[in-house]
């Protein structure tokens, strides 16, 4: 079961809304599929994100994958701790493995994302 308080994308990112801000990361399923994560490339504060456009990359020992913004917004900060310890994305993807904090451009966009049940169904399909 994925956490119930988050919303999800089909590309396996999660988002947690906190007022007019939100935190973004990738799901445990995504981290498991990627394998050992060795590098995360994230945008700096001030960058503008556009919903479903790529904002960074996550590199595992076997692949490099794009990260997609669940919603539009402006980057407030990135999780700098991942530069030295990218493996935290594998061990704690919903907690210390978070990637970006953003200011939402349009909070309504969150409603278009998958809820926990829908995301569970998506990954159950394989």
């Amino acid at each position: 079961m994925v956490p119930g308080d988050l919303r999800y994308t089909k590309e396996h990112e999660w988002i947690r809304v906190e007022g007019d801000e939100a935190v973004i990361g990738i799901t445990q399923h995504a981290a498991d599929q990627l394998g050992d994560i060795v590098f995360v490339e994230l945008p700096g504060a001030g960058r503008t994100l556009e919903a479903m456009a790529t904002f960074g990359v996550v590199e595992s020992v076997k692949a490099v994958s794009d990260l997609f913004a669940p919603v539009s917004g402006e980057v407030i900060g990135a999780n700098d701790a991942l530069a030295g310890a990218p493996e935290v994305v594998n061990t704690d993807p919903y907690g210390d493995g978070w990637m970006l904090r953003i200011r939402l451009a349009d909070p309504g966009q969150v409603d278009d994302l998958l809820d926990a049940a829908a995301y569970d169904a998506l990954i159950a399909e394989g």
Binding site: F39, E41, S60, V61, V64
Partner: protein, 462 residues
């Protein structure tokens, strides 16, 4: 290995599937004049006769000339052990296997290449490897754009014109802008990158620069103020690419010392014979923070389950076979065999030997400069050089052609190398290395003296 090519039926079905009538239609984007025509080959000949005919063709090559040609490719002595090692059948594979760790020897050779080039460049990371100096320089320029997320590259006109053309081709394909930094026309800094112009080009907040590309020594053989170019680039938030000639790094400050973020260059001088059109070896090195941007493979050292030294393909996840169109480079092929030649060469002659090669070339060049000046062709520029320089010769093209008849390949007319530089219209770019002999220098000087004496006085009536 048996290999079945596509049958006519296979081809017809593929053409039908993609909806074209002939294979030629795939190449219509290439201008007609540039497309290969049909090969007109004679009928088969007995091996004896064919061999004699090929020997006759080969005899038309001029191998008797005293050569002073450099301009990006350099004659050096290659110890016999380099070819002896290189010709071993174990190395003759075109590709690193898809499970590269089964080829520990190949990986170790690449690792040693990376290690020696990192020591030579003073940078943290070296990839293995690229086609040639031009491709390496273009890849380095693209790295600066990816790393800074900017789209404008400044390249000095004192970078080899072929490298600039390659860079321009890569940049235009990627939607990036490549602009040239002019040369200083006269005075003590003539022939070097115009730093005032560079500062002006960098000072455009609306069009921030990703990277500045300059060569050391530059294409005219002159030494640039690389620390200052790097300082200007960094002050504008741009990265600095130093285009290197690897032998010179034995005596000049390496890129890692003068503030370059990336070094790129031609590896041919390291034990690779002069060949028309290559294959040569493109070198790219960078600082650790740029490691994710460097194209090509990176091999690392690790230990196996039993604690023994082993080698792995450490970083390749951004290569084309894995990341498709988002790969760090669309060139997936490397020059492992030539990188190996460079490794064997460097390991054979060692750091002291390489210093001797570089210093020997510089000493020969000083001898050449004095001899040519005495023959009536003084240097055109005042700045310091290592082993290549421009001499002022009236009607340089004509003199160059006539010197061939006297058995001397007098470098290259600067008007041919850099036709867009009016200040260089009467020059010959000449080079000496450790293999240049005093006898050759004497032959060049006396032939030149004779030519200059025979030529009409500049500006006079013929």
């Amino acid at each position: 290995m048996p290999y079945g090519s596509h049958t006519a039926d296979d081809r017809a079905r593929m053409l039908e599937t993609i909806g074209i009538a002939s294979v030629d239609e795939l190449f219509e984007a290439i201008p007609e004049a540039l497309r290969a025509g049909p090969l007109r080959l004679d009928g088969p000949e007995p091996e004896l006769e064919l061999s004699a005919r090929l020997a006759g063709l080969a005899a038309r090559n001029r191998v008797d000339l005293a050569s002073f040609l450099g301009a990006g490719a350099y004659r050096h002595w290659t110890p016999a052990v380099v070819d002896q090692m290189l010709l071993r059948g174990e190395w003759y594979t075109a590709y690193t296997p898809y499970q590269p760790e089964v080829s520990q020897g190949t990986l170790q050779s690449i690792y040693e290449y990376q290690s020696m080039l990192a020591e030579l460049t003073g940078l943290d990371v070296v990839s293995a490897s690229h086609y040639d100096g031009g491709a390496a320089t273009a890849e380095a320029a693209l790295m600066t754009c990816r790393a800074t997320r900017r789209e404008r590259i400044l390249v000095s006109r004192a970078v080899h014109p072929h490298y600039r053309q390659t860079l321009e081709t890569y940049a235009s394909g990627a939607g990036l802008a490549a602009e040239e930094v002019p040369l200083v026309a006269d005075g003590p800094l003539a022939g070097t990158t115009d730093l005032v112009a560079l500062a002006r080009l960098l000072d455009d907040p609306a069009r921030p620069v990703a990277g500045v590309v300059a060569a050391q020594p530059n294409v005219l053989g002159l030494l640039e103020d690389m620390p200052e170019i790097g300082r200007l680039a960094h002050a504008a938030g741009a990265l600095f690419v130093g285009v290197i000639e690897p032998v010179s790094l034995a005596v000049l400050a390496p890129p890692g010392e003068y503030g370059a973020d990336i070094a790129a260059g031609e590896g041919q001088p390291l034990g690779i014979p002069l060949q028309y059109g290559g294959p040569y070896l493109g070198i790219v090195a960078c600082t650790d923070p740029l490691v994710r941007q460097i194209p090509g493979r990176l091999v690392g050292q690790t230990s196996d389950l039993d604690g023994r030294r082993a080698f792995v393909m450490t970083m390749r996840a951004r290569e084309q076979d894995i990341r498709r169109e988002k790969a760090a480079s669309n060139i997936c092929t490397n020059q492992a065999l030539l990188a190996l030649a460079a490794s064997i060469y460097l390991a054979t002659i060692g750091p002291h030997g390489l210093r001797d090669v570089a210093a020997g070339g510089a000493a020969r060049a000083a001898e050449l400069e004095a001899a040519l000046a005495a023959a009536g062709a003084p240097r055109m520029h005042a700045g310091a050089y290592l082993n290549e320089f421009v001499v002022r010769v009236p009607d340089a093209r004509g003199v160059h052609a006539r010197l061939l008849d006297r058995g001397v390949l007098a470098g290259i007319p600067t008007a041919d190398l850099l036709p867009d530089e009016p200040a260089l219209s009467d020059g010959l770019l000449v080079c000496a290395t450790e293999v240049t002999t005093s006898a050759e220098i004497g032959q060049f000087a006396s032939a030149l003296r004779a030519e200059l004496a025979a030529a009409p006085v500049a500006g006079g009536a013929r």
